[in-house]
């Protein structure tokens, strides 16, 4: 006759066996003293284990009301949603910046940047840089803010009528003015073909920019450079948010690490977005300092960082790119994300 293995006795005591197995074991035990003794030993072992373990843990713990769990769950969900929204928002901004950068590289060659509100039209067949603009809602309607890139042949291009130097800036940065034309019109008055030799036709419309006041609240010695920033470093290679008119490019020599550039671009509402690029340590120090300086810094009140300013930074190696602007503007993207999620 087969004796009952130890593990089966455990399982039997733990009520983990089928009814038929139980019957089989019980009938064996009835006639086998040795297995009965072993069963009793195992029962004692089992009880001791339970006793030892129960001496360990907290005694009976009263569960807090289930509402506690429910509230925690709700909070976790909210937090999760916020992360998703923030993630999507950051991703789209990064995408927009990267896109703008990429398109600038693609358009390589020298570039002219219209610092006024411009509209770009191109001949069919040539792709417009798509998705490069921060899709910022402007109250003034669907006017297109675009960066005007010149064609590849610079010589053939007349000097941009709107390029301005620091000297000009002191007076009125936007002396060149044209009547506000319909945004959809590529052939409106004031339209001037920039380049015809390369087969691309760029039309430039110049408008006045209201409410612009140059920002001057960045620490250190800055050199304001002409928009067409020299032969070696065309503005197209300076990071900026594509699709917005550039109003000022400033450069600071930041010893061995290289230089920092600050590009200011203005929205139709008059608000300014600034893109700062340079060695990470310098840029972050700059940002930190600017935040400390606060609104009392600078004579022009409108040039000080607003309370609602927001900074977004992207770091790659020892370089850092920071985009600052009013949170209402940068945030408009976020609200779009929200909207999409809601529907």
């Amino acid at each position: 006759m087969r004796h009952i293995p130890e593990e089966e006795l455990h399982a039997n005591l733990d009520q983990a066996l089928s009814r038929s197995q139980c019957v089989e074991i019980e009938s064996h035990l009835a006639g086998c003293r040795r297995c009965r003794m072993q069963r009793d030993d195992i029962a004692a072992l089992r009880d001791r284990t339970t006793a030892l373990l129960s001496s360990l843990g907290p005694t009976t713990t009263l569960p807090p009301p289930f509402e506690v769990i429910r509230a925690r769950h709700d909070r976790a969900q909210q937090l999760r949603r916020r992360w998703v929204v923030a993630g999507a928002w950051a991703a789209s901004v990064v995408l927009a910046l990267a896109g703008g950068w990429g398109v600038d590289q693609w358009l390589h060659g020298s570039a002219a940047i219209a610092e006024a509100r411009t509209a770009v039209s191109r001949q069919p067949g040539i792709d417009r840089p798509a998705g490069v603009a921060l899709p910022i809602a402007t109250p003034s309607g669907p006017a297109v803010h675009a960066l005007v890139h010149s064609a590849r042949n610079r010589k053939a291009m007349p000097e941009p009528a709107v390029a301005w130097s620091p000297a000009q800036k002191a007076a009125s940065p936007f002396s060149a003015q044209a009547p506000l034309a319909g945004a959809d019109s590529s052939r409106s008055p004031g339209t001037e073909p920039l380049d015809t030799s390369t087969g691309e036709q760029l039309a430039l419309e110049v408008f006045s920019l209201p409410n612009y006041s140059p920002l001057s609240n960045l620490d250190g010695l800055w050199r304001t450079v002409p928009l067409a920033y020299g032969e070696n470093t065309p503005v197209s290679q300076v990071p900026h948010v594509a699709g917005l008119p550039v109003v000022q490019v400033q450069v600071q020599k930041a010893s061995p690490e290289g230089e920092i550039t600050a590009v200011e671009q203005q929205l139709a509402t008059g608000e300014v977005i600034r893109t700062i690029e340079g060695p990470a340590s310098k840029v972050s120090a700059l940002l930190a300092h600017r935040d400390e300086a606060g609104p009392q810094n600078g004579a022009d009140s409108s040039s000080s960082p607003q309370k609602g300013d927001m900074t977004l930074t992207v770091r790659s190696g020892d370089r850092m790119l920071a985009v600052t602007g009013p949170s209402t503007v940068l945030g408009s993207l976020m609200s779009r994300v929200n909207l999409r999620r809601r529907y």
Partner: protein
């Protein structure tokens, strides 16, 4: 569904806390993790909530242990449980003896292999053989074997310490 979960919460919360406590050795942490387990259950709506709850508890405890190692925090045996039901007042002598006994049980538990310990704790938390099998990846038939070995080793390890203590005293 929510009612099901609520019922499960009422009936198993204490067991989950106990299960977690034996892994994290901190009553507050164990309770916090237990609540987290049920919060996650609310979000996931698992089909088999009971085994799911213990599986997630085991995972959280594992993460917690890793984090604890990273923080190089020493695990300390908590003297008393402030939130559990009132424990009878003890004399200092009794408290010392009790603490020594707890430390011995903890060491005995630590002497088991990870798998033996897991199976034993899951069983003690009230899980059935099939549930333990599903969670640990063992065959149902192997649960009994593992449990038999774990029980024997736990008691042996505990008794060995007692004996050593007696030998040291005499």
């Amino acid at each position: 569904m929510t009612d099901d979960l609520e019922n499960l919460y009422r009936t198993t919360y204490s067991a989950v806390v106990r299960f977690l406590y034996r892994k994290v050795w901190d009553v507050d942490r164990a309770q916090d993790l237990a609540q987290e387990v049920f919060v996650r259950a609310m979000a996931h709506r698992p089909e088999k909530p009971r085994s799911w709850v213990f599986a997630v508890a085991a995972n959280l405890a594992r993460d917690e242990a890793r984090a604890a190692v990273r923080r190089k925090r020493h695990l300390t045996l908590l003297k008393d449980d402030p939130v559990s039901l009132p424990t009878p007042a003890r004399s200092p002598q009794e408290t010392v003896e009790r603490d020594e006994r707890l430390a011995k049980v903890e060491r005995a538990l630590a002497a088991l292999t990870a798998r033996d310990r897991e199976v034993l704790l899951l069983w003690d938390a009230g899980m059935s053989y099939p549930e333990i099998a599903a969670q640990t990846g063992l065959a149902v038939g192997a649960v009994g074997t593992t449990l038999a070995r774990a029980r024997r080793r736990l008691v042996d390890a505990y008794d060995r310490q007692e004996k050593q203590e007696h030998a040291a005293h005499s």
